[in-house]
Subunit: 485 residues, 4 copies
């Protein structure tokens, strides 16, 4: 058994974080810090490219930012006033150095670097066309499609080539490009993935989340808007709108699970959103109990909200071991629930003889949940009531989460009653879809034009998904994607 299994087991994973600095001496050092603050968006690999007016420099490595980018030797090599970086959790493409972004190409116009958070939904089709024409792909990433589209565009300027390229792609993307002139940033027309603009001294910063502005003390200017393309050069910031107006539909999973709680996305605090979710959960499905216990760490804000709403005391009934590496052996068949115990231990002092509300952020396959419940019961809990801080996940997702696991989604296979039994709890309740929207400050979901991209819960897909039409063909008719255009 490996912890990779554990990781994949009962959580969906965010794919990537992106970060750019232009106009500050030592840009790459700032990018290193920004990527460190975005580490939760991808721990497999990281890369940084910089430009000093003469040459492009790059460093890419498998593993954490802090382990690979924080030595003086590395930072000194990444010279220049302009830099972009990327931290990766693989969504497409194997884990190998050639799949670490930013990608780089020597175009006729000069060096061009590119990195991307999100997932394209027609990259396979475009790739086939490009290969036919003689383009040679070096990676298995969808991002490389954008690079070749830029390289083969017949537009005169690099910005023109980038616009050419993004007008051919579908899906979710927060995109950062670097040229000799500066940085180009694009957020997809629906704004599915977040992207923010900030200022640090005389330079500009673009980042996936505001927490990555905070780490360097950069000032938040505004969210990059859906469908907006921003060009940052020595002359300042220029904004372009290469797409027709499209409704903003940010991925609601950013609020539920992906983003860091100290980030603010499109004006809404992630921490407050989660606490509100916890409150909605308590309003919708409270049950008499003695303690509210979060599944750490992602369940904590919702549990605090639940506790505040219900008045039941919040307690650390499960303690997390933070020293968890990537893999661990299974030493003995007799040790039950080992996997979960490598990360968590029940805190008997809190649980023994108690009626426990267990709050988790989501339920994917359920395999970890059932082990946690077993552990909580073994510690002496009298009753265990599981409260999930999101609706049931029943649909595949194509915008940046590992889709291959979706067939094992518990909620797509079982009824609520079956799930309750499978996980072994006394009661199980999910947040309702409208409850989720209420936690976001709305009255409920606008089913005609949903205010968020909520595909995993509803099967609604805001973009064309050419590469995946067959995948959604397998789900029941009523679950099929409703295309926007």
């Amino acid at each position: 058994m490996t912890l990779d299994d554990l990781h994949d087991d009962d959580k969906l994973h965010e794919e990537c974080g992106v970060y750019a600095v232009h106009g500050h001496k030592g840009a790459a050092a700032l990018v290193t810090l920004g990527l460190h603050a975005l580490q939760h968006r991808g721990q497999e690999a990281a890369g940084i490219v910089s430009y000093d007016g003469n040459e492009f420099y790059n460093h890419r490595a498998l593993g954490l930012v802090g382990d690979n980018f924080s030595s003086q030797a590395v930072i000194k090599r990444l010279k220049g006033h302009s830099s972009i970086g990327h931290t990766r959790y693989s969504t497409t493409g194997e884990t190998a150095l050639r799949n670490v972004q930013p990608l780089f190409a020597d175009l006729h116009e000069g060096g061009f670097a590119l990195c991307h958070n999100g997932n394209l939904t027609n990259s396979q089709k475009i790739r086939d066309q490009l290969v036919m024409r003689g383009s040679i792909f070096q990676s298995t990433m969808d991002t490389e499609v954008i690079l070749h589209l830029v390289a083969t565009s017949i537009q005169d300027t690099i910005v023109g080539k980038v616009i050419d390229a993004i007008q051919r792609i579908q899906g979710a993307y927060a995109l950062l490009c670097m040229t000799k002139e500066g940085v180009i940033a694009v957020r997809d027309p629906n704004g599915i993935r977040p992207l923010v603009l900030g200022k640090f001294e005389d330079g500009y910063v673009v980042a996936s989340e505001t927490c990555a502005l905070d780490i360097i003390g950069a000032e938040f200017i505004r969210d990059v808007e859906p469908g907006e393309l921003i060009v940052i050069t020595d002359k300042g910031v220029e904004s372009m709108r290469p797409f027709p107006p499209t409704p903003k539909q940010t991925c609601i999973f950013e609020y539920i699970y992906f983003a860091r709680p100290d980030s603010v996305i499109d004006g809404i605090s992630v921490y407050e959103a989660r606490k509100n979710i916890g409150k909605e959960l308590a309003i919708e499905n409270h049950i008499e109990s003695d303690v509210v216990v979060p599944v750490p760490d992602s369940g904590v804000p919702a549990a605090i909200g639940y506790s505040q709403e219900s008045g039941v005391p919040f307690e650390l009934g499960i303690i997390r071991n933070h020293y968890v590496g990537r893999t661990f052996i299974e030493p003995s068949q007799q040790i039950r629930n080992l996997g979960v115990k490598l990360k968590h231990n029940a805190n008997k002092a809190v649980l023994e003889g108690k009626r426990v509300i267990l709050v988790d952020d989501s339920l994917v396959r359920g395999t970890t949940s059932l082990k946690i419940v077993e552990m909580v019961r073994a510690a002496g809990a009298k009753e265990v009531h599981m409260r999930i801080a999101s609706p049931p996940i029943g649909y595949p997702y194509f915008y940046g989460i590992d889709i291959s696991k979706s067939k094992e989604l518990l909620a797509a296979q079982m009824s609520l009653e079956e799930m309750t039994k499978y996980i072994g709890v006394d009661s199980l309740a999910f947040l309702s879809i409208d409850g989720m929207y209420r936690a976001m400050g709305l009255e409920g979901r606008d089913n005609k034009l949903p205010q968020y991209c909520d595909s995993p819960f509803t099967g609604f897909y805001p973009t064309r998904i050419d590469d995946y039409q067959d995948d959604v063909g397998n789900v029941p008719e009523f679950m099929k994607p409703k295309k926007t255009g």
Copy 2:
């Protein structure tokens, strides 16, 4: 700047964890898991020795247990039904592989392995005598003194030699030895360091803390008693008492900071102790406020207790980045408080415009505290009130914490008023010493015979400290150690 500085900066560090299994096939795999659960007691290095009836096997490595011991290849090599292991934070001796325990010696009677949590207070004196006599030391650790005392003892049996050795040493120790017969465990006469006995299937387990029994599902039998020596062989467990009766004086810092909250030491839940400390803090020093915010992660249980006692809501006002490696560059002088931001970020949504109670477990040098306060203020807090979940630390400590830092102890240099100003808070309060004892369920401290070893707060030293007499000679007369015997 390195994170080592950060680590050392404003926290005291526990030194080591020890773990033994005897009588279970695949003992080393269980020890690996046990050490993983004790990782908080030392992250610098780890080592395991095992014995299979024929040969001793060992593996030692710098770094985390999960990174170095969890591959099948490593575990397969550590054959046998008997095994001891150690996880290390250096207190004496540089960080180098030769300083990683368990130590091993081929005695005339056969192989002998040894590991140790704690710190001896007369090891230098004994070492000098042994070198004079021709003993060759391979490490700079105090633990090696015990090994040579055992090797040169004229007793006939290994147990006899071990007793010979421990009767010559002073200080704090939870000691595990392994011979061809089995495991020998010793807790120092005052019981300063914790040690527990458990059972897993047909085998016995000895561990620094109960959380390390939990991870493998071992059953807790009892604490090893102060001054007790336990011999575990294939015939079972035998208990000996090689010392005259001595009052139990467990290190109170185990409850305040060192141990994991899910552990139970000498019958008292660490989590409950910390919550009670938070409650005492609120009783002693509450002030009107809007939110109670812990400095994560160690301040969380006390903050929960404080919130429950005071009724002020508990909120995650500071978010921790869990992906922190060992070192990180300081990229720019202009980035203020970077060090602390690598680990923490202020959660503006919680802090802005609020009167904040900040709860931390202890105050050592204050350097991190002042940066956190600055960060909290920058996020818009209207008032900041720091509450420390332990009394002021004013005295050196010789039983397992890095003593070299003690001269920089804030509370030894400044008055409360000065500290308040230095840290930049609106108010600062520490737990009183009697409050600390009340949180432990007592009426207060028995100054004639303190119920715990509380040297850092009181300068009371329960053992002889031959190597350090001069060190305490420098502190004012009233602070000098009061010896027990």
Copy 3:
């Protein structure tokens, strides 16, 4: 100082070796052995690609074949009955993993791998055109130009695309391609670089030299002919002639220095050629003396020939240290001639009081030679007479040797008398150009149509050299390249 300097110092370097096996289970294991036998042609890096009917596998590494390709794990991953490999000494492009061959591309028709011994003389011009068109280059190697030419060819078949590509390139090349059908091998129209065809059990082998057939016991079939393209599939070997007939002009430096002495190129034993060169040297320039001493190891066969012709005894007067790594410090300015002493030591017993004939294969910058002479004199030699087993090198070379060093060629800067003084010998003599041709079994050089490519000695260039016209423009008029076509 580094040994790289030493290496580059007084020797020209061969650039690469190539090896292919088709039609034998475990092809990659055979390629590994073949590359090991070709290690003298390039020690910087090596790579192997294989195909098993389903997938392409590849492994590339900086360093020696034996250090990186001989583990069971590596070989097991390189599955299949078809495989090509490459061992590299960089001629163009920095030393980095992305510059290690074989290159690979997913063409529309399927996987395509490519590796190359030699150097193109118009790659920069073609590269510029390809980039303009949208091709993205991943390496700095001239070889990648061929890959993009193949990818963008509008021919229908891969063989057709390869022919398209080679008809656009100039220079020297022994080229190996691998497709799903099998292996394609090409030797440039002049046959500048060697390439041989062999048979091993039911499979075919293509290799740079015959010594790499010997290592696996493969049977030598014939040299691939200049301008020949060979297609090896499961149906057997097919030969094509995509070029007009061109005179064969094998690089004569293969005989003098590059190839292994146990190889046979175009019907002539390299060892015999070198011995004959030594004999011609003795005929042309003998002087009375006591011992013939080779500069090891490359001067040994010529010294044996010299000794046999002259009757002066052959002795190991210089001993070579075979344990030389890549770099070594210069510990002290006072140690004279250290560089050369890391590799060589004078054998006083042979040299003291003797008149010494020192035989070396070539004279490039002379820096090593003068240190060796000094060392020989310090060991007590009475007279030192240097005999060089090749003519003076006075011209740049564009077909596979590091050209950047050519400006420092001693023979281009000094007269014979000046060189004699500079190196510090009592006499210095080179082989004459006609003597070199006589040693090859000819009556002399045919100046109208030279029988070998001998550019470094004569400035004659058998191919167009579009990228380098300016370089040769700097040499005196009489030294300028005479183009063939």
Copy 4:
């Protein structure tokens, strides 16, 4: 199959080289170079200790000197004017870092480092006594016994303690110690292992062989004499004689195989000795033939001597591949003699149709020889006559060669006729024992008091061999060791 097998296969291995410098700034850099020149005496590991008047520094590593000691960073750390170093081929003790010398101990008198070329013959017995007394051994090396003898000696001075120690040990040793005062060097009473004294500028050098003086340009002063102890301090060199006079009996295998040909041992050139051996071989056992071919590289000097004496031309009929790493796979059962082909290839041009004299330095197990003969025949040789440049090896050896292989000695199992058939040659001849002594400039062996230690050929052991009495008990009575004292 691994190349280790190849290495062990048909050669005996030297064990170690030692080197010391005292009185020169940057002593460790000189030691690095010296060890590089002694690399042929041990390639498994190397270590250096230095002293700068304040502290001892050390660096030890598995692998070659050039790979591990030549970086500026390593050399800069090894500060000081005094340094000793060691290069190791394991004779006793597994290959592990703890078994890499120099060993180091903090004695009461200060730091003490020690390294050793040779093998003790009573170390096991002494070790048992020391362990009984309480000494803890950290390695499995016999050398550590000396360290503990020094540490436990009751003499007042370190020199006195060293003398105490060497008077208790038996066997062969060239010993270097370093203290705060300087360097102590000892050669065993019989002078079995070589050791020389030199001068470099103001400092002194001690080395296993003269070739290691040459590399830094140090001046040879004299051989350290058998039984001599030399103390080198800032005051100069002092010589002591702690043993009764003992006949000098240098290991004759140093001349035959171990030492580098450019070294001079006890006044005799190793190269000349080998050439003389070749001449004696030709005198004793010549046969009509066309070419004399050495098995490279060790057979070359004897083959030159043979050729000069017999008049048959010397030719490189076997070409050696110098790029051989440690291990290599066996890719296919069908490839015969692969092992030998990784290192050697037959040079057909020289062998085809010829009557070949093959000269090798020694015959151990014969496994490599028979493969080389097969390879030579496959290349077309008409006749193959093997001439061995030493007598048959029939006895175990205890002074520094891996003894465990001795049971597989071909000459101990077969008659000359059987060996001839086994190896597959037309004739086989060894040098006679008296021929060997004649080659050394003597009239023959003095059987009453042999002039050299020649145990492998005669079973004569010049020292007591307490640990090995039982081993020699198994050989026939007439072969048993004749002790000297």
